[in-house]
Point group: C3
């Protein structure tokens, strides 16, 4: 029996912290799969800061694109994937089509079903004014579809607001 | 007795799909009122894709501005209006004043009270950084007011996040 | 015993109105602390409109930066602070460092603990596309941290959507 936990929210909403608390509370071996790529100093700094915030015992894997492949071969009790939103951004910038991205999402969900507990972190990006540029609009569209698909497949889903959880699916959790 | 259902959410949050499932579940004749106007190819493509996704038996009415007038003369069991946000955008671009838009909203709500079930779909656009341009800020302001008014008048209200519902008012629904 | 109520939401989501209804329902003397600064006519108009919307008996204090200092010396039953988001914006534009802003947040929370009821209004700004400009990204980051800290310290927390409340913490309120 595999358990899929979907965690979404805006920037600085506490979604990564919540996901990490859930992973830590599980008691098992945790593999942290980071999809972030450092294109500039600001991003490098964010990645480094996030890394020092995580428990020392966790294994970290960095993979910008072949996320399903990494998960498929993973031996772990808990997968914490942070985040779907950067993975989609990486695929978009690598010129994947929407169909390819949605197929990769299905592969990811199939791979997650092999892991006892998989926690998927993502971003909500569609609650502002329609962006001026077409790439940002495509990103909103594809990420929205990927999020819907993963949320639909999840056993528990939460949206974080100011560090607090709203339960979308499953039981409210105390951590 | 008329029933008003208010459905909001961000871009690609699943709000239209949810509204369509609610309309389909009602069992009655459904009229789909589309407020979208195709100004360019991207929009034309979105509109066409949405149309092919809808059940064949539904009647479709397209009306960018006189939405209250259309609803007032409508004979249907279920009105599915998608969406308030494009209607407000159309009124703003047609140089309606805020008072005129709020008066039209009251006319719409009065007309909806004639229909057994009215489902209003809209967008949340105020949860990003304050937009640079004044028109976008006006749009956020007016749409926010229209949304508040319609939500206040509703019997059930939901916000969609990653395809899942958060109940704002009324009972949680299974569809 | 002091009570801290945290109220967040997007632009025009009804968060100020909700906070004002809660303040009015308390029955005690209310001090309204406004952090807005009028840099231009649009802002001046917004501030004036908000002021005329408030009950005549309330005391109004305007303070863009030394918000903790104002609260520390305040004699009132209810503090309504509207809003944290403009306070953070003011500190950022005054070149405060993130550490200084977070320290000021702790001072504010300590000062609020002296007031029987403190209601903090703020904005969610992190649910759109990542902003182009670095200052806006810094603002999202710092405000997100300030919001998380205040929400964590609160007894009740709500996010407003289209004028309706979602309870983040504490019991659902009827006002």
């Amino acid at each position: 029996m595999s358990r899929l936990i979907f965690v979404t929210g805006g920037a600085r909403s506490g979604k990564s912290s919540y996901a990490e608390r859930r992973a830590a509370a599980s008691g098992g071996a945790v593999t942290y799969l980071a999809t972030a790529q450092a294109f500039d100093d600001e991003m490098r700094e964010r990645i480094a800061r996030h890394r020092t915030d995580r428990p020392a015992g966790w294994r970290t894997v960095e993979e910008p694109l072949d996320v399903p492949g990494q998960v498929a071969q993973m031996q772990t009790d808990v997968l914490l994937l942070d985040c779907l939103s950067l993975w989609v951004s990486n695929m978009l910038l690598a010129d994947w089509t929407e169909d390819e991205m949605l197929a990769a999402t299905e592969q990811l969900l199939a791979a997650c079903a092999r892991v006892p507990t998989a926690i998927l972190v993502t971003n909500e990006v569609g609650l502002g004014i329609v962006p001026d540029n077409a790439l940002a609009r495509r990103y909103r569209d594809v990420l929205g579809r990927v999020n819907q698909r993963c949320a639909a497949a999840s056993d528990e889903a939460f949206v974080l607001v100011s560090g607090l959880t709203v339960t979308l699916k499953g039981e409210k959790q105390g951590v």
